[in-house]
Symmetry: C2
Subunit: 128 residues, 2 copies
DNA sequence: TATTGTTATACTCTATAACTATA
DNA sequence: TATAGTTATAGAGTATAACAATA
């Protein structure tokens, strides 16, 4: 059920992401960096459940468009401090607003109580 | 969150499926056919969110092991009635029991109420 | 001509291994 | 020697298109 629901929601979000010029992984990265800057790319990759090699083209694209910065750590010049920019935050917020509008299509079927529990449990199972 | 949780649960189920000699899609097909026989392969594919070409090797493997039957429909010899066998049902049940044991690892964190709501809503969003 | 099932092929996504630079 | 990041390559998973049989 999880897999099928995921496929459906991903398919539904795709046009929204495309309209904002973002890929799924690009959006996930911006959302992760929106909460706090991250010191290494490997840490970011692990925190979003991706391979470290897989996010490199994603970071390249985001950086080229000025949505993130990759700042070499002065204390360890191998590592890159990853930070979202103002421009990155604003496109992330705009995209998120559109996506949440789309999610209403699903969530509207639920009672307020069911909806609260479902979202809270989903968060708990994913991050807890 | 859905995508990440799906990846984690799929990864956790993989060893169980392998132990029973089933693939993820093989297990999904058996679960679908366990509820009722299905008249065409395309219908089955759509109902489980797969491509009709993608399930053919899956059906071949299941049939070779005697877990399903593909009976040509006498009224329309293009179509194949898909049915689970006794042997297919028993391996599906055994696998399902093991998987549910593994899911307890996740669900045990939840209160009885949260758990009931989450599973019910998940089902509703997926199939409703 | 349209549909069911099938096969072959191409494409996308992902992971593995090898490389550079820093430590 | 080990680690962060990168690149190139191979592998799995998936979708597209063309085919045979039947309607």
């Amino acid at each position: 059920m999880l897999a099928q629901l995921t496929r459906e929601t991903v398919a539904a979000e795709q046009p929204v992401l495309t309209a904002h010029g973002l890929t799924m992984w690009g959006y996930i990265v911006l959302s992760a960096l929106d909460q706090s800057a991250i010191r290494t790319q490997a840490t970011l990759a692990e925190s979003i459940g991706a391979d470290k090699t897989r996010i490199i083209p994603v970071l390249d694209a985001l950086q080229n468009r000025g949505y993130i910065e990759r700042i070499p750590d002065p204390d360890d010049r191998r590592a890159r401090l990853l930070e979202i920019t103002e421009s990155g935050r604003s496109i992330k917020n705009a995209t998120q607003a559109d996506i949440q509008r789309g999610e209403e299509h699903w969530l509207a079927q639920l009672s307020a109580g069911d909806r609260e529990v479902f979202l809270r449990v989903l968060q708990q199972l994913t991050f807890g």
